[in-house]
Amino acid sequence: MRKIAKSALDSLFAAMSESKKVYLPVDGEGGARYQLWTEGTVLSEAVNTVRSAKDFFFPQTENLVEFKMEGKKLDVIDVRRETEDFVIFGVRACDVRSFDILDRVFLGAPVDTYYKNRREHGVIVSLACNKPAETCFCQTFGIDASAPAGDIVCHMTDDTLFLDAKTEKGEKLLATLEGVTEPCADSAADEQKALIRSRLDKLPLKGLTADKFGGDKTKEFFNDPAWASLSESCLGCGTCTFVCPTCQCYDIKDFKTADGVRRFRCWDSCMYSEFTKMSAGQPRLTQKERFRQRFMHKLVYYPANNEGIFGCVGCGRCLAKCPIQMNIVKVMKKLGEGGDKND
């Protein structure tokens, strides 16, 4: 383990930036968001960024391919450029777990080469949460915010940042930082970890469990009468989906450019009415079915396909951002309660 004074963070980021682009959460209008580090950029202390860190590997829009057409002839042009190595600094435990969840989708056969390329070039430097928020429930999914995963895992005290390399990628990066950091005992961050754990114990959503859900629970929950009242006021917007670190649905669309057609993919939402609409029919006719899909996917379908791992990391973004304040915590509590009065 190595350490650096908090007051010297600038020199750490400067050293990292020598070999790679460094992105980190920065406070701004409307909340914290990841930004490229340049001289003077200040690390945000917010527990979460407004948008998750998934953008780095699965950006909101991404060009797939271009076409040139002349008469009846057509050319397919691969427009991908070489991706440079980059560092994402300050990723929280929940968002680090979200990468595992996305990996299982995008890196499962057949591999999504666009995602894989970005993933291979990214180094993840995580940062334990000193002040987990009231909306946090990562513990429900077995995530320990005091000990995140990542290539390098960091802990910050009032005056010091501790860095612990966990992977080969992390060790390589940390080796380049020897000039600005100094070695310290492996136990140096233990006190901070204990403080965080004591804070995690006091969170209001601490007791929430996902025990009743899982891959084999389709029949149990699909026809739960509670879906009707839970989805009653859903606007059908995509806020929850787009701030979610694990939502991975996308659309593929064509965009006519001056001299051809660009095919890009962009985030899509199962909450949208057009998501499953075909010329021949629509399997999810009302918002109830769309709403159900989103939560069944996280709590039942995803675990069914991924050895019981849930598709939610408890980051709490949807709790903070839903326009009508409906969210996965309310859904988890309400489902399975039996006979809903509103149906």
Binding site: T113, T218, P283
Partner: protein
């Protein structure tokens, strides 16, 4: 599971022949610009066709894998992409990627068995590939029955191929029907589900169903009456798709993705899925 190096990257396909099959179904023959098959597939698998700027859509590959020269797609006009495809002329280049999905179990479960294919309308398209595959390897299968119905004689897909080739094969029995009486038609008249019951098949076979939902529903009931088990009956599902590789998230029924885990399903497998297709 299929593995592809670049699953989202299409190749160019050239339309070398267009056949008007019925008033609203055309069959397109597609090869690469250098005249080859774009890729190999198994019976029942699908491919993504697109016209850049218009859109991309998933279609069954209707030609048999045993056809070494080209691929064919029988496509009904019913939306943006299909309308554009129908307006194409020979020589038009499009994009193609695939193959996607799981095929019919032609080499294991179907081997040595009697087979009953039941199709309605454009539902023959996904079955043509497996029927022609089984005809090609005729000695690997038992008796083959084909029940096919459409609105009218003009709406029967591949009519010429059925009459000239399938019906003349040894131990292949073709049963055609149309919904209403029509001049120049002396065959059976009536809906497919009733015709299946009238024909009264033995249960010593595997049944494969494909057609509009209402036909599936009533034919299935008829097959149960005849004593068929769910484990003996296969069908294909169709939902909206974008990626074709189980990642874009829209064609799932419960935890199964039609593009990746389907489109071929056995009815006992469908029973395990929520009713959302």
């Amino acid at each position: 599971m299929i593995d592809m190096k670049e699953p989202l990257m299409p190749v160019v396909g050239e339309v070398v022949d267009i056949r008007l099959d019925t008033p609203d179904i055309k069959t397109f023959r597609v090869v690469t610009p250098d005249g080859k098959k774009a890729f190999e597939h198994r019976p029942g698998q699908c491919a993504m066709l697109s016209i850049p700027g218009v859109g991309e859509a998933m279609f069954s590959i209707t030609s048999s894998p045993t056809n070494t020269e080209y691929m064919e797609f029988s496509i009904k006009k019913c939306g943006c992409v299909t309308e554009w495809l129908h307006s194409m002329e020979v020589g038009q280049q499009i994009t193609i990627r695939g193959p996607y999905g799981n095929p019919f179990p032609v080499d294991d479960v179907f081997a040595g068995k009697n087979l009953l294919f039941i199709a309605g309308g454009v539902g023959l398209a996904p079955l043509r590939s497996v029927i022609n595959y089984c005809r090609h390897y005729r000695d690997r299968y038992g008796k083959i029955d084909i029940v096919y119905g459409s609105r009218s004689k003009d709406d029967l897909l591949d009519y010429k191929e059925i009459i000239d080739e399938w019906a003349n094969d040894a131990n292949v029995h073709v049963h055609l029907t149309i919904d209403r009486e029509q001049e120049g038609w002396d065959g059976h008249v009536g809906f497919v589900p009733n015709y299946v019951k009238e024909l009264g098949f033995d249960t010593d076979k595997i049944a494969v169903l494909c057609g509009p939902p209402v036909m599936i529903k009533f034919t299935l009931a008829g097959l149960y009456e005849l004593g068929f088990e769910k484990t003996q009956i296969y069908t294909t599902l169709e939902l909206r798709m974008k990626c074709g590789i189980g990642k874009c998230g829209r064609c799932n029924v419960g935890s199964k993705y039609v593009c990746k885990d389907g489109p071929v399903f056995r009815f006992d497998q469908l029973d395990e899925l929520p009713d959302e297709y």
